[in-house]
Symmetry: C2
Subunit: 84 residues, 2 copies
């Protein structure tokens, strides 16, 4: 069993209007020391052992479904979970 964390963020060249809106909100709340907010998606995935490498499967799923690779980039961390 594996536990995979996937982070999907807009590429730096892509504007993040949702992040801009949240930045506006925190500024209005008085937190003017916040200079930039960018918002991404975060996935926690549990994977059971299979024949092929987890990395390969996760990259396929990210490319096909979790990230829009034209606008977003992703990174992931895989850790092995103890079987109980």
């Amino acid at each position: 069993m594996y536990f995979v964390k996937v982070y999907v963020t807009y590429k730096d060249s892509v504007l993040d209007p949702q992040g801009e809106a949240v930045k506006g909100a925190v500024h209005r709340m008085g937190y003017t020391e916040i200079e930039e907010i960018r918002i991404g998606k975060y996935f926690e995935i549990k994977v059971s052992a299979a024949d092929r490498p987890v990395e390969e499967m996760i990259e396929e799923v990210c490319d096909k479904l979790l990230a829009n690779v034209n606008m977003e980039s992703y990174r992931y961390e895989i850790s092995a979970l103890e079987e109980v």
Copy 2:
């Protein structure tokens, strides 16, 4: 200057219908070794140096705006950025 990463996820006791839907989609694509997907939010925040501790400010912003503390929990990582 600090770079803060904030991860907001549903508490374990809260159902994540969006994650369930994505799990259904990956199963239909044939990735049946994926047993669970939970979806959260991910924020990358740049903060300029201020009078008070960054931790304190970030926790306030999370409690008030970024997370719904009734249903979600959050964790964060703060790293110092080199001034250029």
